[in-house]
Amino acid sequence: MPIAPAGLGPLSDPRCFTEPVSIAGRSHEELRADLAMMLTIRFAEEAIAELVENGEARCPCHLGIGQEAIAVGVSANLRPADRVFGAHRSHAHYLALGGDLDAMMAEVLGKDVGCSRGFGGSMHLYGGEVGFRGSVPIVAATVPIAAGAALAAKMDGNEDVAVSYFGDGAAEEGGIHESLNLAAIMALPILFVCENNLYSSHLDIGQRQPSDRIARFAEAHCIPARVVDGNDVGAVREAATALVEHARRGGGPGFLEAVTYRWRGHVGPKEDVDVGVRRSAEDLAAWKKRDPVGRLRAAMIARGDVGDEELEALADERRAAVQSAVEAARRAPYPPAAALHRAVYADRGGDIG
């Protein structure tokens, strides 16, 4: 039984949208890059799942396996001067922008060379050089911060944009609504990206909201919204590009709702079909057929873009990169205990003991 059929309709029904994605008019290079990035993300998260299982990674890790297409599609038209913010489930957001894989793995293991210097773990990622301005696990916290980054971009006048990733659960936090209003009234160059995976922790959206369509809030705030299959990288890319270009040209905020599903549990490597209040093995199995990776691969093969062999080589290469990142992370040292006080303030130079 699909969850909360009203609202999103077929978009939240896993029996729909299981065919290969449409790739008409998209170049081989672009598709290959999208696929490579989705594979990197998936393998990286599978590796993290293992690290958690074997006790090497101890920080809470929220995996987005099954949701890879969204970050990849959204990042397509972003540049380093744009400013992107994530939340607790942000490995994909970081990597899709070009964030350093080695540094992320080191961060997950709490190491000094981690992308947050070993002070964040999986839930606090930073990749300033690629425009990833931070992810933190207080739900919805970065949404107003991203709005402020958009305000800065507007003041700069360089046509940069901000991107704020959040989930369907985050839409229940009042701060998001305040941020939508602020963005609307100030015509801020921001793309709100709601990854609607129909769950917040163990509760499905039907247990938390009267409709499963989050874009209704954008519309209430007079913000143009697009709702797409979040497991179709081309659909995400096309919608995100339109909204980002609109924002760059001074058209104000845009809202992208990408409907998806996570294959793993809320936190950690398990599937949660046992503990999610209404999460069923059947739903999960159905959603796995709506796989963003598999559907792109199938489309590329069907069009004759690539053969199995090339795809295997690509996957092997991505797997090797992930493996090497894990190994480097293992070898890296932890931050020294003295580092505790290192970054409390910007510069403790002249400060009180």
Binding site: G110, F119, M123, I138, V139, G174, V277, V344
Partner: protein, 339 residues
């Protein structure tokens, strides 16, 4: 409830209190995130939704402010809700409701209405969760008149003080710490008490130094006292139990005898609970009674780190307490906190 058990485990004791309250009082209900989940609040509320129904054990949207406000509203209309914040950090989104509304409601209306709401905040530190998932901000709430703040250290208090909190007509912030969930008290029958009458507990008598704590810190100082005892130093242990309104008299009485005060707290130092214990004591004590400068051990002035080695360096330890206490007892009247 506790029947058939040899000892009472903290997390189970909380669950016992919920069962007692929900079973006896139709006007008690619980609301908060994770109440239908087996993992959110540890085992402390396991299957209560199944036993008492999802209409009385309500899992909620991710809306800390509205859920807290709703609990306050229901408490003004004859109910005794418990609103659960699985992490105190998340509760910061609801402080307007707690501090501006609940704590002031009775006073603002001249005592005509009382929000008999219990706000349960869980301290959930460690595990490399980092800065936003590790806070112990009890000192903030102890600062607020009109709000009672309860911090049980023992399984028995976890149970009986939760019941007392819910039965109290005032808004109560009840703070439990997941680091205590496996700790045990001897089995005991539930005792319904009047929260307003509860006082700090002297858990161990000693003549050389007074160690003061609450919640998890009480365990640290108790363990430290055992080690100090082996070294011939007799520490008196005071568990505050309720930090607002704070009754410092038992500490003053104790320090009058021991001449030495060391307060330990799992929160930050500046304007924190340990400092309040020092201030409340020193301002009531003839300074001649002091054999050493009073001291405190709190968190370092930094947000919580993530990586395990840094977490280890971050949190107060029994060793640090023992070392400080020894220096205080051995070192005479010197000020030890000197920078």
């Amino acid at each position: 409830m506790a029947e058939g058990r040899e000892s009472l485990v903290y997390a189970e004791a909380i669950r016992d209190a919920f069962r007692y309250l929900l079973g006896r009082h139709p006007n008690v209900f619980a609301i908060g995130q994770g109440l239908w989940s087996p993992w959110y609040v540890g085992s402390s509320m396991r299957d209560l939704d199944k036993e008492f129904g999802a209409a009385r054990v309500i899992d909620s949207p991710v809306s800390e402010l509205a859920c807290t406000g709703a609990a306050i509203g229901a408490s003004l209309c004859g109910y005794r809700p418990i609103v659960v914040h699985p992490r105190m950090d998340f509760m910061l989104l609801a402080v307007d409701q707690i501090v501006n509304q609940a704590a002031k409601w009775s006073h603002m209306f001249g005592g005509q209405a009382h929000p008999a709401v219990t706000i349960r905040a869980i301290v959930n530190r460690g595990g490399e969760q980092g800065a936003q998932h590790s806070q112990a901000l009890h000192a903030w709430f102890a600062h607020i008149p009109g709000l009672r703040v309860v911090m049980p250290a023992t399984a028995r208090d976890a149970r009986d003080l939760l019941i007392a909190s819910v039965m109290c007509d005032d808004p109560v912030l009840y703070i439990d710490d997941r680091w205590l969930y496996e700790t045990r008290s001897p089995a005991s029958a539930i005792v319904e008490t009047d929260l307003r009458q509860e006082r700090p507990a002297v858990l161990r008598e000693g003549s050389d130094i007074t160690l003061v704590g609450a919640s998890f810190s009480t365990h640290l100082i108790s363990e430290a006292a055992t080690q100090l005892g082996e070294a011939g130093i007799e520490a008196e242990i005071i568990d505050l139990r309720i930090i607002n309104p704070l009754d410092a008299e038992p500490v003053v009485r104790s320090v009058e005898r021991t001449g030495r005060l060391l307060a330990v707290d799992g929160g930050w130092q500046t304007c924190g609970l340990a400092g309040e214990v020092l201030a409340a004591t020193c301002s009531r004590l003839d300074p001649a009674a002091l054999k050493a400068s009073p001291a405190r051990i709190s968190l370092p002035d930094a947000p919580a780190p993530t990586s395990a080695p840094l977490e280890k360096a971050y949190y107060p330890t029994v060793d640090a307490i023992v070392a400080k206490a020894r220096r205080m007892v051995m070192g005479g009247r010197v000020a030890h906190d000197q920078a």
